[in-house]
């Protein structure tokens, strides 16, 4: 049996679902519901794959990606490789409502966010520093490099391109602890 209004979200992130539902239950819009539900995960980190303080890159930095889409108007706002701003879904909505664009990325997206009033702050936490330090101690395994030397399956970079490209199956798999 179906019933509307309804919220569905990936993974067992209960608080996010409850936050989104509270908007719909009080007559709010689908767009506000999605923004509020996703923002709850950014604050609570959910399983660590959302928000500041998780998934450090090879340089130890946490960057964020987010998007929001209005199915009525087909408007979209999205940010990618966002730095220093915790509320990525909020910035995505600002891209949709405060520009004619769809997607802003990287350092310039962060400057846009600061100009629009979002707070710039460090996205690093003890958790992300620990993940990064353990990774360095473990010879930077796993990583997403290929066809480079020194051998990325054994050692950290810096890497240089290998002259001969080997074509082989995808070795690295995302998993429950590290995915999009």
């Amino acid at each position: 049996r179906a019933s509307v209004p309804v919220v569905i979200n990936t993974w067992p992130f209960k608080d996010a679902a409850a936050a989104a539902w509270s908007v719909l239950r009080s007559g709010g819009s689908a767009l506000d519901s999605v923004e509020k539900g996703c923002a709850r995960c950014e604050i609570e980190h959910c399983d660590g794959s959302v928000g500041y303080g998780g998934s450090p890159d090879e340089s130890g930095e946490t960057t964020l990606d987010a998007m929001i889409m209005n199915g009525n108007t087909m408007e979209v706002g999205a940010v990618a490789d966002l730095r220093r701003i915790k509320n990525a879904i909020g910035v995505a909505r600002a891209v949709m409502e405060l520009t004619e664009h769809t997607l802003l990325v990287g350092e310039s997206a962060s400057v846009f966010a600061e100009n629009m009033g979002f707070i710039a702050e460090d996205l690093t936490t003890n958790n992300s520093v620990n993940i990064f330090l353990q990774w360095l101690k473990g010879n930077c395994q796993p990583n997403y490099r290929k066809n480079v030397f020194p051998d990325p399956s054994k050692t950290c970079g810096p890497y240089k391109p290998r002259t001969i490209l080997k074509q082989k199956g995808r070795t690295r798999q995302a998993n429950t602890r590290s995915h999009d």
Partner: protein
């Protein structure tokens, strides 16, 4: 990553995602989440979908867009989700990924690809049937 779909009392549909991406990624790497039609897609006249998993692979197949277009063509959410997953599976049999789908009548479903560490996929549903969010599970 969290991917979310909402249908409000006026039948408006929205979708969104937010993530901190893959751990130990190459700096500058962006996954599927912020890519329209990959991480999520919404059209109030057809439905919405949102995906999660190995974004480097999944984004190439635009699973959320495909699922919404299948629902527009009359597929139920479960069939739409499964087709979107199987389209990727043809090329990457062990990819790690899942998708949630909802149509304009409020019917919803999810599908996932059986991979190491993913044999079931858990997702949340909130509607007026129960004031607290319901945990749902689908076998991959």
């Amino acid at each position: 990553t969290i991917g979310m779909i909402a249908l409000d009392k006026d039948g408006h549909v929205a979708a969104g995602t937010t993530t901190n991406g893959l751990t130990h990624k190459v700096p500058g790497r962006v996954g599927d989440s912020p890519i329209v039609g990959a991480g999520a897609y919404a059209d109030s006249s057809a439905g919405a979908a949102a995906a999660t998993g190995d974004g480097d692979v999944m984004m190439r197949f635009l699973p959320s867009y495909l699922a919404v277009e299948l629902m527009r063509a009359g597929a139920d959410p479960s069939a739409a989700c499964k087709t979107a997953i199987s389209r990727i599976k043809r090329h990457y049999s062990e990819f790690f990924g899942a998708i949630i789908c909802a149509n304009t009548t409020g019917h919803y479903a999810a599908a996932c690809n059986k991979a190491p560490g993913l044999s079931q996929f858990h997702y949340m549903v909130s509607n007026s049937e129960s004031d607290i969010p319901l945990l749902k599970t689908v076998d991959c």
